[in-house]
């Protein structure tokens, strides 16, 4: 979350006081990304120093000062909006590493490991989905952020599903009596009545 560019975006709507910027900034990020609000004032100071924003009442503290965006600030905002973030390098993904490691350990059932993570991810998704259940009172910015998180988590579940299938296919020839037991209490315990 770029505090700097979010503040420039708020200022591009018109001049605002420091405390107002802080309030609007907090409101715009919802509860999705918890932030240090002190950052808002230090960032305002830097924006002013770098010529992206300006204010006349230099003697007042940041809260009471009225800020406006400069043309340099507008250019910076426009440039930032259109610059794709660098996604070319894959992030170091701990879950991927866990599954890769599990797939190599003969005493570990990798499918059980996958299921533990799948269940956890679906539970987290249930929690996010629950937050957008009440459509009438759903804040648009919040809904967009929740959707982003759900798509991200969904992609991880889909990777797990595909890894599960790929490992099964690869194992068919090697391990004919593959166990499907899980650390759950729902294993078959006897003959049906």
């Amino acid at each position: 979350m770029s505090v700097r560019h979010s503040l420039l975006a708020l200022l591009s709507e018109g001049p605002k006081y420091g405390f107002q910027l802080r309030q609007e900034f907090e409101a715009s990020t919802g509860d999705v990304w918890p932030l240090n609000v002190g950052q808002v004032y230090t960032t305002l100071q830097r924006l002013e120093r770098d010529g992206y924003a300006e204010s006349d009442d230099i003697d007042a503290d940041e809260r009471q000062r009225n800020y406006r965006i400069t043309s340099k600030g507008n250019e910076e905002l426009s440039h930032w909006l259109r610059t794709p973030p660098d996604l070319s390098e894959p992030p170091r993904d701990e879950l991927v590493i866990k599954i890769l490691v599990a797939s190599r350990l003969p005493e570990v059932n990798v499918h059980d490991v996958i299921q533990v993570h799948r269940r956890y991810l679906v539970q987290v998704m249930q929690q996010w989905t629950h937050l957008k259940e009440d459509e009438a009172s759903l804040d648009l910015a919040f809904a967009l952020a929740v959707d982003a998180e759900l798509f991200r988590l969904d992609s991880v579940v889909r990777w797990l599903d595909s890894a599960d299938g790929r490992l099964r296919r690869a194992n068919v020839s090697e391990v004919p009596n593959e166990s499907s037991g899980l650390p759950s209490n729902q294993k078959k315990t006897g003959v049906a009545q």
Partner: protein
């Protein structure tokens, strides 16, 4: 109260060397007003589970109980009545009858159940209105968008006094927002007291459920834990089983 109970339900297809265990010892209880998701890959037994729950297929072993009544001893007529009156189905490909309008599609299960046509149409119209489709009532399926067709299918599944909604990949090939609308409608039916089971391979759809059961090779291998409250969740995003 459980609307649907599966008790040690198993399904075997074929015989001898071609025998396939499609489901093994499934126990599942779905309470009034709750939405249960069943997740699993293709061939894990999801659709078989749904067919047996809706009495479209017989289990090889075990028992299906709907509204406290076991289907094991029920006559063919009793089961047919149950399917018409109590259970609603939503399928991936909507299954609307092409020659009937949206309204006729929705009122058909009521009319088959002996409700007078006029009354059936009024009830069907109410179901369409609830899903925002009143002005589409006279359209034929091929005049509706995919999202509208699925809404009609849901209206048909919940029309009248239906208590159990069974949905198989209900968002089908719909885009994500239309898929979300479908889940919102199913959830709204649950809030009115309907019990619903949605089978899907899609975690985004399943995440609308109160509880998700995971199927693998015909067995229920795992299920989600009850979620913490939203406050707890946003306060502590890392809650839940550690990974």
């Amino acid at each position: 109260m459980s609307i649907l109970e599966l008790r040690r339900v198993s399904k075997v297809y074929g015989e001898g060397t071609t025998e396939v265990d499609a489901l093994t010892d499934i126990d599942l209880a779905v309470e009034q007003g709750s939405l249960v998701g069943v997740m699993g890959p293709s061939g894990s037994g999801k659709s078989t589970l749904l067919s047996i729950a809706g009495s479209l297929e017989e289990p090889t072993r075990g028992e299906v109980v709907i509204l406290g009544k076991s289907l094991s001893g029920a006559s063919r007529n009793d089961k047919a009545r149950l399917r018409r009156r109590t259970v609603g189905y939503v399928f991936q490909d909507f299954n609307l009858l092409a020659g009937l309008t949206a309204l006729e599609n929705v009122s058909m299960p009521l009319e088959l159940d002996g409700v007078a046509m006029k009354r059936a149409r009024v009830t069907a119209m109410q179901a369409l209105e609830q899903l925002g489709l009143a002005e589409r009532a006279d359209h034929f399926p091929d005049q509706l968008s995919g999202g509208e067709r699925q809404r009609v299918a849901i209206a048909r599944a919940v029309v009248g006094e239906r208590r159990l909604l069974l949905a198989d990949e209900p968002s089908g090939a719909l885009d994500s927002l239309n898929g979300e609308s479908v889940m919102r409608m199913i959830l709204a039916a649950c809030h009115r007291g309907v019990a619903a089971v949605v089978v899907t391979h899609d975690a985004t759809l399943a995440s609308w459920a109160d509880r998700v059961v995971f199927l693998r090779d015909g067995k229920a291998v795992d299920e989600t834990l009850p979620p913490p409250s939203p406050e707890q969740f946003l306060g502590q995003p890392s809650r839940g089983p550690s990974s």
